[in-house]
Symmetry: C2
């Protein structure tokens, strides 16, 4: 069942004979801490280098050679001994006998002895004896003693236009750390050092259930009073954005037994279960009923035992998504997100995204958190942390502005697609003024 995000749970009823209103809210940070405590790092696998983009590295990797592996010519010209050119000028060029021509990938046939030079192409290994490369424009072709010579018209500085061996990396030095997200530049570096296969964390396999008797499959025609399950596909895309592999398990009715059966019978190769809907306090909220039966979170466990089921939380002091819940069931982390699309989206970003990152070896906060100028006033009624979907605008003044989208309407599906950041309006305030600086969490594109 879906709950409007502005609807304040505790204001409804403080009694509640069946306990459904006695859910203790915890802070977002504490809820995240509990989720991360239950998010086990998963196994690694080897993937071909060209398919490693977007994955997270499973172990520290080292430079397998110096880089550059040899002194490399930075441009086309002549490899020389700088000392031979010390007196050179356009009027009195140094004449150096040309002993070799070295293509990139080629090998020098001769060392550069005093009084000689080698024609060299960009990227080629600077031959033994030479300590500088003179660019072609500072030379002319000539003859000296009846042999082909390079006429060098300017003094070369030792080391000039030569990238020394090991300038960027030394053999054995660390090049990348475990948990690091592999971007295109990382692959270039891995290729440089010969990592044709790369150890990365396996993609976390995430089972997705949508609960709610009102839900129709997406392909079904609408029926009176029914709506289609729009959350499963959204959650699948969010799982993929975080490197996971979604396993869509369809919809479940508002029946605790059916939901419980589904969660318990999910295969052992699932790393995380995400459900949407049924977490609120309505008469038929199956997830909420199910979770109420569990033992409470016990902070004594560093690793939760498979044999023990546990409620991590079933209420978070935040809007939207205050009934967002999490549990440890059958040795698996279960994140029970709100059925409301906006609240589901925020719940995923706050809890599922960091869990997936931690499972892939990087337990640091998942979002880039930036300071942005609030483009328009935000008022809020509740005392809780408020997460507002915003677009981001970049001003001519170098400032980044966060502009709220459809504030206060978590059911508004249209604005989720436009969201570029979540702005946090912390608890204890009644909002933020236009022009004030707020914290914005940048969302993945």
């Amino acid at each position: 069942m879906r709950v409007a995000e502005d609807w304040s749970l505790e204001s409804v009823r403080s009694e509640g004979s069946d306990g459904r209103f006695n859910r203790r809210a915890i802070k977002v940070e504490e809820a995240q801490r509990r989720v991360l405590a239950a998010a086990r790092t998963i196994a690694s696998e080897l993937v071909p280098l060209a398919e490693a983009g977007g994955r997270r590295l499973a172990q520290q990797l080292l430079a397998t050679s110096d880089w550059p592996p040899f002194a490399r010519a930075g441009l086309d010209g002549y490899a020389v001994r700088a000392a031979d050119t010390a007196q050179a000028s356009p009027a009195f060029p140094a004449a150096l006998r040309v002993v070799d021509t070295i293509a990139a990938g080629g090998l020098a046939l001769a060392a550069v002895e005093p009084g000689t030079a080698a024609r060299i192409m960009t990227g080629a290994a600077v031959p033994s004896g030479a300590d500088a490369v003179v660019m072609l424009e500072q030379t002319a072709e000539g003859m000296a003693g009846g042999e082909r010579a390079a006429l060098v018209k300017a003094a070369a500085r030792p080391g000039q236009n030569v990238a020394p061996q090991g300038e960027e990396f030394r053999l054995g030095s660390p090049i990348m750390e475990p948990g690091e997200l592999l971007r295109p530049g990382h692959l270039a570096l891995l290729g440089t050092f010969g990592y044709a296969v790369v150890p990365v964390y396996r993609r976390p396999r995430v089972a997705v259930f949508a609960t709610g008797s009102e839900l129709l499959p997406v392909e079904a025609p609408l029926a009176p009073g029914r709506i289609r399950d729009s959350n499963s596909a959204m959650v699948a895309a969010m799982i993929r954005q975080r490197g996971g592999e979604p396993i869509l398990c369809g919809t479940l009715p508002d029946e605790p037994e059916a939901v419980s059966e589904a969660l318990i019978h999910i295969g052992g190769d699932v790393d995380l279960i995400v459900t949407t809907g049924g977490v609120s306090v309505g008469d038929y909220d199956a997830m909420a009923l199910l979770l109420r039966e569990l033992a409470d979170f016990d902070s004594q466990f560093e690793v939760f035992p498979d044999s023990l089921d546990m409620l991590l939380f079933n209420r978070v002091s935040m809007r939207p998504g205050s009934p967002t819940s999490a549990a440890w069931i059958g040795g698996k982390l279960v994140l029970a997100l709100s059925g409301n699309p906006g609240a589901c989206f925020v719940g995923f970003e706050l809890f599922a995204a960091p869990a997936l990152r931690a499972m892939q070896g990087d337990p640091r906060p998942d979002h880039r958190k930036v300071q942005a100028v609030l483009a328009r006033e935000l008022k809020k009624g509740s005392p809780h942390d408020r997460y507002v979907r915003t677009s981001l605008l970049y001003g001519d003044d170098g400032r980044v502005y966060a502009d709220p989208l459809a504030f206060g309407k978590s059911s508004m599906t249209a604005s989720i697609a436009q969201a570029e950041a979540l702005v946090v309006i912390p608890s204890g305030s009644l909002g933020a003024e236009a022009g004030s600086i707020v914290e914005a969490w940048i969302l993945p594109q």
Copy 2:
């Protein structure tokens, strides 16, 4: 062959009997225009909704119903006729006979007639006759005339807590445009409207060749004077970031015949060819030799004929990557990027990324261009546009700062991985001061 980015082509030699130095530089914008002229929009295909994330929509899609499809209750409470509650107060509640209980997904059994109310759950269809929902906290249970009644303690405003049918979308109104990148929120919207399969542009298939006789495959042990092909894997990851499918074709020697053979014999199902290396003016630069034989770009063609090969450009007034070239060969766009990893990266972002975007229906500029504060001084020696890899920092003052990485060292592979933006230092300047506002193109994560 790789060329150092600070090495100024034209300063080497202005003669050059074989024409290799007579390459006419064009501006980046003109080069991009030519590439986009040759980037044909490709075919579309249908994919399952849950796999459509990150793809681009191939046609405009319309709302298949009003949304919400019926007037929906925004919270749990009672559906009432507002007029019945006009005089209600805590001391004198309006007693309304409860005629129904409506779950989300359920159907009303009775209309709400004057003097009656229906218990209703969040998301359920507001029954006929009712025009407002009163939240549970503003009610009490009671009896009226021997029947169960809701005691409403506050006057309801017509429309209160009801999302009217069609509030977000009207049947038939456009919900998404062709070319749009499908993010998680888009999938929620598509699911809402029953798009179980989604028309998206096919993934562009991109053949990738690395040229250079110095190149070893990544899995090979290093050999004297040789380096491994680090560009192919990097380019593969960049192609995937832009929705394309890379086809890695390995390395080619510095032999124009071999390169020409490879390009001509590539299968017809390739949409774009990207090569790296061999575009400079060295003695053995195969791509450059090959491209010199082509007819020059002819702006009279709106669509280039398959039968005509054409050079689009073989020099761009930019650093790094000035020898970056493009051609139309065998009815295919060929982008010949520099072999230098840094210049290859910039060339891809400037030309391949917009081409891939245009092939998938969106010919708009590929990068988010923002104004950023330059964190440290950038000096440049050449009069050309300079593209500098930077990290991005977000200050407490709401400003975004661009901090140059390894400026002036296009061969530095390590810094590509860290790059978050390309800062453009336009031609005609000698650099930019620390603290000045510069244009930064945000790179994909």
